[in-house]
């Protein structure tokens, strides 16, 4: 019994020492609270697989009152919100490729005639590059609709004809693989750079380095450049193997893809640098990376569509480089879009990088105080 109580005392000593150390390591202690809190909020509020209010467009070739009624009936389902009107199906297709809308409803010229017979009354052109979005829209296929003028109720199999673009077989690999590029890059790029600088600080290298003529911005750039190549290698592996094994097409131009990837890698590395100016130890850098990684996976549109999230979650998502890159990479790889179509996202990434490097360099003073 005595031996047991001695053992308990020793265990107690270690337990309290450990707790004391934990409370003194502020960032780690913060993680204890923040990780479950943020996860709960993300899973509880933000992640909503019931997609609502998808932005869609309409091409009304019939120009009829009934056509407008169809639009308002669809709006009433709350699955879609009509944000754009296009003149021709060609325009509509371009808009989908650019990512302006996820789908376009085309109401044909013979709309009135179709209401009377058993043919589908209109067509949905759907962006299949996001399978969750695609599935949500496919649910509309059999929505009942009648104009009220039919002599007798028309029984038809499908109300709409569905044209699924870019991923007609609805294979999830096609959707996941390009998105995975964003997640893997976020994880490795942020972790590499944040750990790289913190490691130098931990080992004391930095104290020597800052007494030399090296400028802080030179240290920052010197830390970023090697990992750009690491990132490009990773992208090549993911998309190359994705193409070979999962038959994921690369529809866009490779130079455009490389440029987009380059912008995202730079932004992610900048994020890593910012982490490194906050974290004091490699463990803290790792934790902060995970902290950034969770929303990058959950909010960026990688797993759940951006449009399904409440406004607040969308704002957070907009702040993450991964969100912008996922839009870009899916557009370029799957829909064959060009960077010209994706200017807002591209500029956002460039702006983030520039501001981030400036912020990191100014936070990283060549001083110890």
């Amino acid at each position: 019994m005595n031996a047991l109580s001695q053992s308990l005392q020793r265990i107690g000593a270690i337990v309290f020492k450990e707790l004391r150390q934990l409370t003194r390591d502020r960032p780690t202690f913060g993680m204890v609270v923040m990780v479950p809190l943020i996860q709960l909020l993300l899973f509880g509020f933000a992640i909503n697989t019931n997609v609502r209010d998808l932005p869609v467009g309409v091409v009304d070739l019939s120009h009829t009152q009934t056509g407008r009624e169809l639009v308002s009936d669809l709006t009433a389902t709350q699955i879609v919100t009509f944000t754009r009107t296009y003149q021709t199906p060609k325009q509509a297709e371009d808009a989908i490729r650019r990512g302006q809308v996820h789908a376009v409803l085309v109401i044909p010229v013979d709309f009135g005639q179709r209401l009377q017979d058993r043919r589908p009354i209109a067509q949905w052109m759907i962006d299949g590059s996001d399978t969750v979005v695609g599935n949500a829209l496919l649910a509309l296929q059999q929505m009942p609709f009648s104009s009220g003028f039919e002599t007798q109720p028309v029984v038809r199999n499908n109300t709409f004809e569905m044209a699924l673009f870019f991923n007609p077989e609805r294979r999830s690999a096609v959707n996941i693989v390009p998105g995975l590029v964003a997640i893997v890059l976020t994880m490795t790029m942020v972790m590499f750079t944040s750990a790289a600088l913190v490691r130098e600080r931990e080992r004391g290298n930095l104290e020597l380095l800052i007494t030399t003529p090296v400028q802080s911005s030179e240290i920052m750039i010197g830390k970023i450049v090697p990992y750009i190549f690491v990132g490009l290698i990773q992208v090549t592996i993911i998309l190359g193997l994705g193409h070979v094994i999962f038959d994921v097409p690369v529809n866009g131009r490779l130079d455009q893809l490389a440029l987009g990837v380059f912008a995202f890698i730079s932004a992610s590395l900048t994020l890593g640098l910012l982490v490194s100016t906050v974290a004091k130890t490699q463990l803290q850098a790792m934790q902060l990376t995970v902290f950034l990684l969770i929303p990058s996976i959950l909010l960026s549109g990688f797993m759940f569509p951006y449009e399904g999230m409440p406004k607040a979650a969308q704002w957070i998502a907009e702040a993450l480089p991964a969100t912008h890159f996922i839009r870009m990479v899916r557009a370029i790889v799957l829909r064959g879009a060009t960077l010209e179509d994706l200017q807002p996202d591209l500029w956002w990434l460039i702006g983030f990088t520039v501001l981030g490097v400036v912020a990191a360099a100014s936070r990283f003073k060549k001083r110890l105080d």
Binding site: R203, G204, N205, L208, L209, T211, T212, P213, V214, K366
Partner: protein, 324 residues
């Protein structure tokens, strides 16, 4: 220097006036005035936490002073820190080169950081490897070197760009005595070739080798001068007392107001007595005969340790040891 300088502007390699650094409520360096001449080895002697490292960081511009002015090699610090960097070599307390690079790679890296052109860098590295006996180990990872080898590598890297001022923060704390002696030989070589060296230490034997010395405690300077001068001007006399039962004697002597400090060294007790007593032996024999019967008393030359003990701790409060 061809341009006319105001008189005395270049007289000192390092000159500080009222240099102070606070961390919150804690005063790490308190009103420190230093004047360190060119081409000398100047030492900071003091216990851990006395402000040696902080003072060095203030002088190198790594920390901003809370008050006071600092001039190093004629440059205002911290304003002109970037200019100083090229003329300064700094060796941190902890080994701060890259463990996962080889000796040669580390030196090449430092040469590039200081923008030394590659042909000249090759020559310099070659001569550094020879001078610091690293030739045979140039392909070894720095992390696998012994303490003494690392120290030599660190010194080779810090002096690669031939700085005018070399600052060494406890350079020999992880080195055995033999390597320490070698290391100091190298420092004297550097000093002879014109380098000013500022070094901190808590070893008396090292401090005694310096041309000039500042004894520091709690962020303040307690005494400064050359070691010989400090020992000569020690405001106390030293006697050694032999005999049995030294522990008890130490306690009894320690209670006397005239005794500054006592320390047992093997079979004798080293006793510091204030300057007010002319002849400590006679004084002990007449004033406290009961303590020193059958004991030998010998007057000895003060050592640097005596100076240190006299200037620091509670003794400093008596004001005797503080001198400008």
């Amino acid at each position: 220097m061809t341009e006319q300088l105001p008189a005395g502007a270049q007289e000192w390699a390092i000159e500080t006036r009222g240099m102070t650094r606070r961390f919150g409520d804690f005063v790490a360096v308190d009103q420190l005035d230093l004047r360190i001449p060119h081409k000398t080895i100047y030492g900071f002697l003091g216990p851990n936490g006395c402000g040696k490292s902080t003072s060095m960081r203030l002088i190198t511009g790594l920390l901003t002073p809370s008050a006071g002015s600092i001039r190093v090699l004629g440059m205002e610090i911290p304003e002109q820190t970037e200019l100083l960097r090229r003329r300064l070599g700094y060796m941190t307390q902890k080994f701060s080169l890259y463990d996962d690079l080889t000796v040669l790679e580390n030196l090449r890296f430092m040469a590039q950081i200081y923008n030394i052109d590659s042909r000249r860098a090759k020559q310099l590295i070659e001569s550094q490897l020879g001078r610091y006996q690293l030739d045979e180990r140039k392909g070894r990872l720095a992390g696998t070197l012994s303490g003494g080898q690392r120290q030599r590598l660190a010194l080779a890297a810090a002096t690669l760009h031939q700085p005018e001022l070399l600052i060494l923060d406890e350079p020999t704390s992880a080195v055995d005595p033999e390597n320490r002696r070698d290391f100091w030989e190298k420092l004297f070589d550097l000093c002879d070739s014109g380098t000013t060296i500022l070094v901190s230490t808590h070893y008396m034997d090292e401090a005694e080798r310096c041309h000039g010395l500042a004894i520091m405690e709690s962020g303040a300077k307690r005494a400064d001068g050359s070691p010989a001068q400090l020992m000569r001007e020690l405001g106390a006399k030293v006697v050694e007392v032999d005999g049995e039962n030294l522990r008890l004697l130490k306690q009894q002597l320690g209670e006397l107001p005239e005794v500054v400090s006592t320390a047992q060294q093997g079979t004798h007790l080293r006793v510091l007595v204030t300057d007010t007593i002319d002849d400590p032996e006679t004084w002990l024999r007449t004033a406290h005969p009961e303590l020193v019967t059958n004991r030998q008393i010998r007057a000895v030359r003060p050592s640097l340790e005596d100076v240190f003990v006299h200037c620091t701790g509670n003794n400093a409060a008596k004001g005797e040891g503080t001198r400008q």
